[in-house]
Symmetry: C2
DNA sequence: TTGACAAGATACCAAAAGGTATCATATATT
DNA sequence: AATATATGATACCTTTTGGTATCTTGTCAA
């Protein structure tokens, strides 16, 4: 199977799935309840929920004949960590730019001396 | 056209594209140079680069007959902001948990009094 | 126990995605 | 000017994806 990072990114790549996460951030919901917010069949919603689960973004807990879907932080954490690499990169690039500007200013000062 | 957030998420959903970003984080590269790191045709790589560009994740700058591809922070920033919503949610949930634990401990203290 | 109701499981379909092959165009290089 | 190089643009193919329809299973309630 593909790795966790890939499954998490894949899960977030669909707008319906991100919308499901938004709903679940307000309250835990059964599959049926999630379905009522969408213009698609319960089967389709359930597929999305399964993909979100595989992406470690939600937890599906059995409760009688219902399945309670709730947000789960692991998947988002995985992605956050991946992005930290690039954020660090950009911070550095920004620092380099600031250094360059500072150097330019210094030269400018010398010129004007 | 679909919105920026969607294009950024879509762009990051493919492992080859994330790998391209990793390469570009080390140095800017032409399309040909990027292609040399992969076992696929230049045409396929170029398609990936176009999708990354649409996701606001890279910049493609013309230089003679070459195209210099470089990282661009906008797309990542868009995604980071989207995730902040959920991170905030999780922080709160964690706080609630900590509060619950604290309360439990207090009751426990009372019991033992 | 006998319907309702929530969910699981498949089979199937159209569209999108990832890839190749191929030809055209623009720019260097000699 | 002629050739080589870097890229653009398409047509085409296969697999994946998002969706429906349909049937089955598990559970609640009368």
């Amino acid at each position: 199977m593909t790795d966790n990072l890939q499954q998490s990114f894949k899960a977030l790549a669909d707008p319906s799935r991100r919308e499901i996460l938004m709903h679940l951030s307000k309250q835990d919901m059964t599959i049926k309840e999630v379905s009522e917010h969408f213009d698609m069949t319960r089967a389709a919603v359930k597929k999305h929920l399964t993909i979100l689960q595989q992406g470690n973004l939600i937890n599906i807990q059995k409760n009688g004949r219902e399945r309670i879907n709730s947000l789960k932080p692991e998947g988002l954490q995985t992605i956050t960590e991946w992005m930290d690499y690039f954020n660090k990169f950009w911070d550095q690039k920004l620092n380099n730019l600031q250094t360059a500007v500072a150097n330019y200013t210094e030269k400018d000062d010398v010129k004007n001396k």
